[in-house]
Amino acid sequence: MHQRRNLLIFLGMLFFTLLTVPTVTSHAADETFKVGMEAGYPPFNWTQNDASNGAVKIQGTSTYAGGYDVQMAKKVAKSLGKKLVIVKTEWDGLSPALTSGKIDAIIAGMSPTPQRRKAIDFTDTYYKSQLVVIVRKDGKFTNAKSLKDFKNAKLTGQLNTFHYTALDQIKGAIKEPAMKDFPSMRVALESGTIDGYVSEKPEGISVTNADPNVKMIELKGNNGFKTNPEDTDLAIGVRKGDADKLKIDHALAKISQSQRDDLMDQAVAQQPQSGNKQENWFIAIFQQYGGMLLRGTGVTLLISMVGTIVGFMIGLLIGILRTIPKTGSVLRRTCLKVVDWLLSVYIEVFRGTPMIVQAAVLYYGAAQAFGWNMDRLVAALLIVSINTGAYLAEIMRGGIMSVDDGQFEAAHALGMTHLQTMFKIILPQAIRNSLPAVTNEFVINIKDTSVLSIISVSELFFSGSTIAGQNFQFFHTYLVICLIYLVLTFTITRILRFVERKMDGPQNYNLMANQDQVTTPTAS
């Protein structure tokens, strides 16, 4: 695994340098305090569209982050004398983002577990919480008083949290697979695929405020979960050996318990509510989040289009290189074989690993291994291009080989070189023949850019998740997203079908009575 990861990083770097002028900036010590959070875990942190209630702009977007964590981050940044920058990062991406230097601290409702302490350091506690179970108000477990009452309940918790491991304390409960974030669990609860999920009290208060259909079950004393203070305490994650750790501890010490309670009360009161005056949910979503959806659609379209076009060019180039006849001098043949082998490795590696893993390895790996801090969008474009290139390389090779040998021979017999034969005769046919496959790849790319949310690219799915996290209308929001994807893929398919027909030329030809009528445009 480790070797493959290194190889991936190496190949990623190789193609990166080959293909683009790297728009990377070294992360020199500057006077900003970059804090990573999900911006989707109210009341600790959430995303909103304006700067009200002391929200802070999220880096690289036009949205703002608010919540308890943000207020804490502001206080800490102030005492450090640095400018606060909020970086919206997926939960699983927080730790790598910190160690690779993309952020300076994690303030995201994170508990300092021993496991996490192996990778990063934690400051003193900035909030102390308690585990609760969120259930449906009209469900079977709405009157549960102790852990025993959850017998046969289908329960889950967030992946990589102690919420999930705490489920083991409930005897007889059905432990469903862990989910990646709270919006997913709320959707699951709403749809009835789970009976409840384990959360912490602040999130519980928020969700019950926002959604009248759910209920928070607080379990007191011996009836409740046995938890480790290390788990229920929330602390700020910093890089190991960070000199600012002491300063942050100092700053936290100055914030009294009553101040903390006030901040939490404010956060719970200020968090986004689902209340919307518009009756029609469909129009409401577009009215409220139209801009975000449009930007998400734009980013998705940009990434998939650039990815497909660049990938097509990579594929074409590789297809040409791999079909050069291996004849001539020994040196020439050896060179061709080596190139062929390298290209096979590229194709196998990028076809044989998931794009989500490639994105994480390239984006976080580049930062960790080489200190390259590349733009998320650049990383996304790069990954989709390289990935598409690997698929299309084989498709183009097939397209070239599908042109019969007779046409190669006829072109050679006229005195054309291999390159002339390729460009005048073979490639036009190969490209035409592989166009349906390229269309397919384009459609796949439109949908698969959604996995790039791992590196926090604000494409359509990421926008959708953000909106759902704000309005708590999961089905409706995802239905809108679904519709947009469908419109995109349908339109692209039609356009490329039209291009195919254009390339085929007219179905019929006109008989010419004499030479004077001939007006056909000629080749070259």
Partner: protein
């Protein structure tokens, strides 16, 4: 007498299998040479060796006295002077009839498009394909495609034209159109080497006939000598089989 093309001690093997053994052949300018023989006798391989679609195993091929098998020989320029008409036509499917006859001229001979089109249209007129200049190969019949194949080759103004069984893939009623086009070309004095199973046609237009059997030249002579007075038993046997069938 200066030979245009001279083949000496030519050998060709595919792995262990020797297809051509010690082939010697001379072609004079303006001569029409027919190569006959049963399937698998090596006729097509010999023709393909002449324009280097196959790399000969040993021997020499001289064109205007230059050895075309020498390492520094400019193969592309040579091939432009040696036209080829294929059994399966091998037209370029992405190009229409006119473009098929233009692309070689502009790409290899660097003629300008206007001149190339003029030449192509002249040659297409000679084979009776003017009405179809806008058609794609897939829209033509076999006989029409082969006539375009001939026009494409002749548009390059070759010094020699090679025909590799040009009528073998055609329906019988289309054969005559193609043979007529070839006959007209032979009358212009173009040097031609022809691999064919059309015995009557070969007898009619050939200056020189070579009979091949099992990779060697079994007998050669004028059309009259080979077809009317064959000396070798296997030549007699072959002709008997063919003439009975036709």
């Amino acid at each position: 007498m200066t030979n245009l093309l001279e083949v000496q001690h030519l050998e060709k093997s595919f792995g262990e299998h020797q297809v051509l053994k010690d082939i010697n052949l001379q072609v004079e300018p303006g001569e029409v040479l027919s190569i006959i023989g049963s399937s698998g006798s090596g006729k097509s391989t010999l023709l393909r060796c002449i324009n280097l679609l196959e790399q000969p195993t040993s021997g020499t091929i001289n064109f205007h006295g230059d050895n075309i098998l020498a390492t520094k020989f400019d193969v592309a320029t040579y091939r432009a002077k040696v036209g080829m008409v294929f059994q399966s036509f091998n037209l370029f499917n992405n190009l229409n009839v006119l473009q098929n006859c233009v692309v070689g001229q502009t790409t290899v001979l660097h003629r300008n498009v206007i001149a190339a089109r003029k030449t192509a249209l002249e040659q297409l007129a000679k084979v009776g394909m003017t009405p179809y200049v806008n058609a794609k190969p897939a829209q033509l019949s076999g006989g029409q495609m082969q006539r375009v194949g001939i026009a494409r080759a002749v548009s390059m103004n070759p010094e020699i034209l090679l025909f590799d069984e040009p009528t073998s893939a055609l329906d019988p009623e289309m054969v005559d159109d193609v043979l007529d086009s070839m006959r007209a070309l032979a009358h212009t004095g173009l040097t031609m080497i022809l691999v064919t199973h059309e015995m009557a046609f070969a007898r009619d237009i050939s200056d020189h006939v070579v009979f091949m059997d099992l990779g060697v030249i079994a007998e050669e002579g004028t059309a009259e000598e080979i077809f009317s007075h064959p000396q070798e038993a296997r030549t007699q046997e072959f002709l008997k089989r063919y003439l009975n069938r036709v």
